[in-house]
């Protein structure tokens, strides 16, 4: 019964030259990496500076966050706008021909009308029977929420949501994960910060999408909302950094009163920057993922076979 799978034709080019180049590069890389400082070397001065100034200058017990949003805040500032530029590029590349209000749904909005028979024409007995069967099949899958669908309903291939087991597990896990994401960003004096927090929020969104289908997240995952939030996060970051220039005379200087260590507000502008980054990363990744998921082929028309005489 089991047939051997046909060997895959894997197109490659310049295998020998590529191997030669890579091997010589590997030799250079190895020579370089063997010579760099190892685990017994002293910390570089910049790392020591970050560690020593973290608590007195910023009242922060987490030097990594102090480096990310404080000492090397300008670095993170540039990187944020690299992410911003990437998100904008994906939006531009993945955009649809017509403007849309949602990532999903508008292509399926007309399906019901399309499925109806032309009223002027009437339907034959065969057609009516087929449509009755289709309606009965769709009725199970097209209920308002996946939980209304009776267990063991027909047409699993039309189901938007996953099984009741997955749905229950996601119901239990999603709130915990969402709180954990906010916690990572808010408790900035312990390891965490806006980047991992935002990534966790995207994970929660994807879990809910996978388990319940698009209807569950349709109110949140809209380009209008996500893109506004994304730009608002970027505006918070720009404002935080620029106010340092205006009030304290240097870009990304701290202008907020420092709260005592190990409180939510310890770190001054670091927490504000981190919150902006939380929104920026969370919405940016969500925009990128849902733009990629809903990229449809509506730019280039299907290729028409050209008549012989027009070929170049």
């Amino acid at each position: 019964m089991s047939r051997p799978e046909p060997a895959e034709e894997e197109p490659r080019r310049h295998t020998a030259a590529g191997l030669l180049l890579v091997l010589s590069f590997a030799a250079v890389l190895t020579a370089a990496l063997v010579g760099i400082p190892r685990e017994h070397a002293a910390l570089p001065p910049i790392a020591r500076y970050a560690l020593v100034t973290s608590l007195p200058k910023w009242r922060l017990t987490e030097p990594v966050n102090e480096v990310v949003y404080g000492t090397r805040g300008f670095d993170t500032f540039g990187e944020t706008f690299l992410l911003f530029a990437a998100v904008m590029s994906v939006i531009v590349i993945a955009r649809h021909r017509e403007s849309r209000h949602g990532y999903f749904g508008e292509q399926s909005a007309g399906l019901r009308e399309q499925a109806k028979a032309d009223p002027a024409e009437g339907a034959t007995a065969d057609e009516s029977a087929a449509r009755r069967a289709e309606r009965a099949e769709r009725a199970a899958a097209a209920s308002q929420t996946p939980d209304d669908t009776p267990l063991g309903a027909p047409a699993p291939e039309q189901a938007e949501a996953m099984t009741v087991v997955v749905r229950t597990a996601v119901r239990l896990v999603a709130p915990v994960l969402a709180v954990a994401g906010c916690y990572l960003a808010a408790w900035g004096y312990s390891p965490g910060g806006g980047f991992p927090g935002g990534a966790i929020m995207v994970g929660v969104l994807l879990l809910v999408y996978a388990a319940f289908g698009r209807l569950m997240i349709a109110r949140i995952v809209r380009p209008g909302l996500l893109e506004t939030l994304e730009v608002a996060g970027a505006a918070v970051i720009i404002g935080t950094e620029l106010l340092g220039l205006v009030l304290r005379g240097s870009f990304s200087a701290n202008w907020l009163p420092l709260a005592p260590p190990q409180t939510i507000r310890s770190g001054g502008i670091i927490q504000l920057f981190s919150a902006g980054e939380f929104v920026e990363v969370g919405t940016g990744l969500a925009i990128v993922i849902f733009s990629l998921l809903t990229m449809r082929h509506d730019w280039t028309p299907d290729e028409q076979p050209q008549p012989e005489e027009y070929r170049g």
């Binding site: 890579v22 017990t61 990437a86 998100v87």
Partner: protein, 122 residues
């Protein structure tokens, strides 16, 4: 023996480079780029490591040290950990842009083979 980590990073980087140079499938080229990014994460986190050190967190310092003693003492490098965090986000952004371009190429040329995409078409 952290040098083993350095050499593993070099090997992973070279595997990614070889993929980018010799494969013609665009998705696999993007995968090769992701491998090269992952190699830099490994290298940076390994470079931050110090023998017998503790994490650069001044919260609840171990063995009865004060936070200030810990800041002067033997801890891992926080700057390289910051670089790694930054690199991960940039890696995600770059991969997303590449993948969306690949999807458009596939839709336009009906192929993922980089060699077929050379000709200019309207």
């Amino acid at each position: 023996m952290i040098v083993a980590n350095y050499l593993t990073a070099a090997a992973v980087f070279c595997a990614g480079l070889y993929t980018v140079l010799t494969r013609r499938n665009l998705i696999k080229i993007v995968m090769g780029l992701s491998l090269m990014e992952a190699a830099t994460y490994l290298l940076m986190v390994s470079l931050a490591y110090r023998a017998d050190s503790t994490a650069p967190v001044l919260l609840n310092p171990p063995r009865g040290q004060s936070p200030q003693q810990l800041a002067e003492g033997n801890v891992a490098d926080p700057v390289l950990q910051n670089f790694c965090l930054t690199a991960i986000v940039i890696g995600v952004a770059v991969t997303a842009v590449f993948l969306s371009v690949v999807v458009r190429i596939a839709q336009h040329y009906r192929t993922l083979d980089a060699d077929q995409v050379r000709e200019l078409r309207g």
